[in-house]
Amino acid sequence: MVLGAGVGRSAGSISGKMMGDAVRSVLPILTVVAVLLGVWMLSVVPMNIHLAADQAQRDGVVVVPDTPIARQDVGAVALALRNPAVVPMTYVLDRPRLPGPQQVAAELWKTTFGVKVTSKKSLVYHGWVTLSATLLGFAIGTTLGIALAVGIVFSRTMDLSVMPWAIASQTIPILALAPMIIVMLGSLGIQGLLPKAIISAYLSFFPVVVGMVKGLRSPDGMQLDLLRTYHASASQGFWKLRLPASMPYLFASLKIGISAALVGAIVGELPTGARAGFGARMLVGDQYGQPLVTWAALFAAAITAAVLVGIFSLAERASLKRMGMVR
């Protein structure tokens, strides 16, 4: 969790810092992405060479060794070296073990910009299906998480009794509980968005609780003592000390919470009948042997999360700056 990571400490000019920050981040990110793409490109050959060799042989190319079973015993790199002609094929397989980045990019492009956004083939359409459950779940989860954290910080009873069970709740594999939740809600007549949102909330509330408990408890002894000398009420202590002190933690929690909510919404799409959304795309892409569909949905989901997290980062910067907590 990013707890406390939000508190910037670097010295430097404040004016124009946000712009400068964004710009200064572009090059490093591009560099890291470029390195990862390079590694990815390189990995494609060994990952796919056996499949490509099988395919090539079926297409009439001479491959050594000349039976699939014999090739099983040859290392990927060795096989590639002995059959250089097959190497280019590893980048264009229909069902690769590891698709080339260009294949994923093409699929992403095609299903995002190449079709109408209302079409079932559009990732924008599926993105919205997933996103709506995510946002609802996130709202539920965050509200619940903050409420629990406040309860835990202010009530010793809740602190003692609830926290261990909140931890235990997270060790329960959600995918195992999900069908039961769906069935139970279904028998109560609740269908559609809400069941997915509940699973999403279940995954997102925990990081928020942990982060906010830590944040609400972050004021040091002297800061608390000061309020004691004023005989401030508990609610004043909350609004004037604990809440502002917890802001960096809150944003860190929100950023983790929103990714967790997205993962939850996707996970929730399987037991709700995998009809639409990123999760359904991943599943069906996997089941019908279309790895590109799966990979594209996977990346689309991660990009969505990155955008959501980015939005919170901006909000974080803006409000921490207003609070004088970014230097």
Binding site: S187, L283, D286
Partner: protein, 308 residues
């Protein structure tokens, strides 16, 4: 409403369930005055559970799974059986040297679980092959939702349906010559697949029975239409697939294969098929899937009315 029927499928939208989608799309249900909701399934949906929870009125299920649920205390009853023949088979690489059941020993085999493992377990126990691994038994893998374990050669054989996964193996570029298949039908261990089941207690309600009569009648009409108009049926299925990831080629081929399995049935359960299924399940030796022949696990009440 009293005309509402909810149907729980046992997998995602595909031509395996074409009859129901066709009946819906062609207005057959509407003609009967029914308002039908079709719930797609998925890797995480146990139709009997949905039925028990009141989430659906009718479910599709494989008979072994339904009979096992009955033994577990969920009294489900087969009211119609549109699938006459089993489409389940094991598909193996030929180059593993497997030619007969005996050759399975020492091999790794992918099996679907989630209530779909019963036919395989019965078969193995009838063949006297242990499923706990070792040289004299088979190593069982819980198979995911695709045919990768075979393609990646992590398994020597995997479970496939004639109408779906087998085609996917071929789509991956594998030629049938490279494969050996074992159809459960041919091995004499076939069990009934994709029947319609309802809760026993509901059958005491005449209104429900009447609704089911209409439902089965319309569904069978849908099935027969689908068998005759495979391309159109496949297109209807495709239209109903909300994921947008299915292809028309795959669904057309699936429809063709499915039609061969449904062809022999008018919807009524054939008692002989039922008996063979029960016998297979009971033959499980030390580890039978069901412990005693079930009573009242099926009824002709609905089909008798629907088909006349």
């Amino acid at each position: 409403q009293d005309n509402d029927v909810t149907l729980q499928l046992q997998w995602v939208t595909q031509s395996q369930f074409a009859g129901y989608y066709v009946a819906q799309d062609k207005g057959f249900y509407e003609e009967e005055g029914l308002n039908v909701t079709i719930l797609p399934g998925g890797p995480d949906i146990a139709p009997p559970q949905v039925l028990a929870g009141g989430g659906a009125d009718v479910m599709l299920n494989w008979m072994p799974s339904a009979l096992a649920a009955r033994e577990k205390g969920l009294p489900v009853v087969n009211i119609a059986q549109p699938y006459k023949t089993s489409g389940l088979m094991l598909t193996c690489w030929k180059d593993t040297g497997i030619t007969s059941v005996e050759d399975f020993k020492g091999k790794t085999i992918g099996v679907w679980f989630f209530g779909n493992e019963y036919p395989f377990l019965s078969w193995m126990s009838q063949a006297g092959i242990s499923t706990d691994g070792g040289d004299d038994g088979v190593t069982v893998l819980k198979q995911g939702f695709n045919v990768d374990p075979l393609l990646q050669r992590q398994a020597d054989c995997i479970s496939t349906m004639t109408y779906n996964e087998y085609g996917q193996v071929l789509d991956a570029g594998v030629s049938p010559d490279e494969l050996v298949t074992f159809k459960y039908e041919d091995q004499g261990v076939a069990t009934l697949e994709d029947g319609m089941y309802v809760l026993e207690e509901n059958l005491n309600d005449p209104a429900f029975v009447e609704k089911m009569v209409k439902f089965v009648r319309a569904s069978m009409k849908g099935w027969k239409y689908a068998e005759e108009n495979a391309a159109e049926a496949a297109q209807i299925v495709l239209d109903n697939d909300e994921t947008g990831a299915q292809t028309i080629e795959a669904q057309e081929r699936m429809m063709g294969e499915v039609a061969m399995l449904t062809a022999g049935s008018n919807g009524a359960l054939d008692e002989a098929d039922y008996q063979r299924t029960v016998d297979t399940l009971l033959a499980g030796g030390s580890d039978p899937v069901i412990s005693a022949a079930p009573e009242g696990a099926w009824t002709h009440v609905i089909t008798d009315q629907a088909l006349n």
